[in-house]
Point group: C2
Chain length 272, copies 2
């Protein structure tokens, strides 16, 4: 902290530079992104696969998060006080929390994210809703998945809503991304994973597949967007398709709840 | 439809009366609620446990939903054209869909919702987020649950966001509600259901419980709010607590994904 100096304003060059990270283009160029709020910043500080480069904090947020700032300071991270207006200019939330970290981008190269012998991987294909992508990342983490891959025209994992919905999980397990879905599928196969589409229109359901022992195999579950599911040309590239059985009158599950059922079914069978 | 008459405005008495249903107090008093949009209205028209009393539709929405209006008309339901402004005054969404039905309230008496020999029931306790309540209702429907019960200080199932998140499931299975949670738990026991808390802090997890055959029993899963979980005095009234195992580094699952894992674990064991 620089108690002696005036707080940075929204026009201070370092704040202006950080503000570029509120847009995907700026993030892609810098290879960095913004993490907001005490919980997420704490996760970022504990993260092993990347670094926090600097912290911006309002006077009010500094008071509330003294311990966290001590941790950051002890780690040699530059901490700058900013005005409320500057903090708001870096925030994507309606009620800015006054605490923002500049972090390394989370994705790793595909082969690195899939290194070792992964048993359970979640692939998001064409998922445009950032809240859904973040929630599936959280579920994958909870289910003990080895990696989450953002494939094709899927939302940026650094999107503020995705970061928030992941509640820190973006920092817990390897994340990779590639616009080239075929490359993702090839890398998964190379890593020994069976590619299974989660598809509401599939002939077979995952309870039957589980009973046959199919889910105990190393599996990459591929999830499509809530609105459109997985297109036929993607389904054709995968090894099989399974649906979550609908026992009642509901026509479908939403993406996150379907992913929870799929990933936990595999996690259970792989551990039993 | 009344093509010969002027469309109702937001000041037409029937529209004014319907507008009272946008508030919980008005709904409770009238025993009716508003359902918006083609999908939800279609579900309401097909509903067996209550009636649609009238439909309000804008000229634009009438063109788009001719078939649905024919179905309603054939069923003797009063259909009135309304201005865009009147439709907006009945809508809780940012982009009103111009089609609103006045329906009977969905809850049935507890003993009726739990009639027969229910095997799987979802109880929401103190869930204040309407989107969560609606999504859990959708998941319960998908998992083939026999009823959903809104207990204690839980959101009104007729809240517009809850209705939308349920994507029609409110009309698919019996819904009950009671502010008196003890009454709900007693009714569940009376119906032969074991009361199981979904509790992230529980000692035992549901995969172990499943392996022991515990989830094959008739079960009422009790879910608390995402922020606060279930309070101790509620946990003390239940038969047991189970957590969803967290295999990775995530601290928790959100309510809807946790409910999906719990309800599908029971559904699977009860059907195998």
């Amino acid at each position: 902290m620089r108690p002696e100096a005036d707080p940075f304003t929204e026009r201070t060059p370092r704040v202006v530079a950080a503000r570029h990270l509120t847009r995907r283009q700026g993030r892609d160029k810098a290879g960095r992104f913004l993490v907001e709020g005490a919980q997420a910043v704490r996760e970022a500080l504990a993260w092993r696969n990347g670094e926090v480069h600097e912290l911006f904090v309002t006077a009010t947020a500094a008071e509330r998060n003294a311990e966290l700032l001590q941790t950051a300071s002890a780690a040699g991270i530059r901490i700058s006080e900013v005005t409320d207006k500057a903090a708001a200019s870096l925030s994507e939330t309606v009620t800015p929390q006054g605490l923002i970290a500049v972090c390394d981008a989370v994705p790793q190269p595909l082969d690195q994210a899939l290194a070792g012998s992964p048993r359970l991987v979640a692939v998001l294909y064409g998922v445009s809703d950032p809240g859904n992508a973040g929630t599936v990342t959280r579920v994958a983490d909870a289910a003990g998945a080895d990696a989450v891959i953002f494939a094709g025209d899927t939302v940026d994992p650094h999107n503020g809503k995705c970061v928030r919905a992941s509640t820190g999980s973006l920092f817990h397990l390897p994340i990779a991304r590639s616009r080239d879905a075929a490359e993702v599928f090839a890398a998964c196969r190379q890593a020994g994973l069976k590619l299974v589409a989660a598809d509401g229109y599939a002939k077979d359901d995952l309870v039957e597949a589980s009973a046959k022992g199919d889910l105990a195999q190393p599996t990459a579950w591929v999830f499509g967007s809530e609105a459109h599911g997985l297109p036929d040309d993607v389904l054709a590239q995968l090894d099989t398709s399974l649906k979550v059985p609908l026992y009642g009158a509901a026509e479908s599950l939403n993406l996150a709840t379907a992913a929870a059922v799929c990933l936990y079914a595999s996690a259970r069978d792989q551990r039993s």
